[in-house]
Symmetry: C2
């Protein structure tokens, strides 16, 4: 079958559309092939250009490479996610820096007062979570851009992971992510997606 | 100059890397060329495959096409953003459906109990904001995939926009977005980005 007509309206070529979105799937199993630090750096070097509020870039990425670090994570992972987290070539904790505003004089130099606009800790934490989530969206696209499969997992004890890995009190764990090459039976059927008419309204 | 070595480690070709991230910029001015409903549908048809927690897909997109709708938005936009919002070919309100769990029996059919896991309204609103922000990340990539420039704006009265455009009490405005072809002097210098060593740590 030919591609949907909508695909032809995009400037991005069809192979890239498939790589990043249409054929990409959340993987539940992985091969043993490692994910290198050079691959992680290449992904970050791409997605760091994605926009964030005040250019604040609050996302922080913690790679759990040692067996000890992985073992510290597992008790906080839901039982249904534990086996895939234990078996993934790379397990990652994605977090927000709740004090990202400290860097704004450097990152947003034309509005140095932005640091003071974000003086309230509760409002700032909302901004940190929101912009970090935008960046996680870019990162999931970036993992796929590297030819790797991403397995994001919301089913975990976020407060526990925050205490375990970020005892400084300035970071908050938002999402766990397994990264690797998809293994056998890596996914089931594609889950349904909402139609454009259910999501987009016009006034 | 040759491309950075990191770019060569990605499966995504260099032209697509540039289109989506490296050469893409947040636009502050736009030409008069319209953004069609077919383009919006093509963008949504691409990015709707991006993953969300429980496949909940809480993002809702409100296109303000009529002069009346645009006029209703402007009082809630910060004074520094008002001119560009008034002049953009398409102004968009991005919102989260805080009751996205009602669709889960259909969207997440293998775990029908997920709807009950999300029974608490406060916790569910957190999930809605987070997944909708992931989807906004995909959407900004998708706008660029269509060869268009995106101008996301966090500087607005979100509570006011929520009241004005979503009086049902079940949606929350998260971000404003201008979309179009970049106009004259659409951007200044690229703002600094954090280096990988400042963002990625290994345990």
């Amino acid at each position: 079958m030919s591609a949907p007509v909508a695909a032809d309206l995009l400037a991005l070529d069809r192979a890239a559309q498939d790589l990043l979105f249409r054929a990409a799937r959340t993987a539940n199993t992985f091969t043993d092939e490692p994910v290198t630090d050079a691959q992680v750096a290449a992904i970050h070097d791409l997605i760091r250009y994605g926009p964030t509020a005040y250019n604040g870039q609050p996302l922080r990425v913690l790679l759990l490479r040692s067996p000890q670090a992985r073992a510290r994570l597992l008790p906080y992972v839901s039982s249904s996610n534990r086996a895939k987290t234990a078996g993934a070539p790379l397990a990652v904790v994605l977090a927000a820096d709740l004090d990202f505003h400290e860097r704004l004089p450097e990152l947003y130099p034309h509005r140095p007062q932005a640091r003071e606009w974000l003086g309230d800790r509760v409002a700032r934490a909302e901004q940190a979570r929101f912009s970090a989530a935008l960046q996680i969206g870019y990162l999931l696209v970036g993992v796929r851009a590297a030819g790797l499969a991403a397995g994001p997992m919301a089913g975990f004890d976020a407060a526990g992971v925050t205490r375990e890995f970020f005892p400084d009190g300035r970071h908050e764990a938002l999402l766990l992510l397994n990264v690797g090459h998809p293994g056998p039976d890596a996914w089931g059927d594609r889950l349904p997606r909402l139609a454009t008419g259910e999501v987009v309204r016009t006034l």
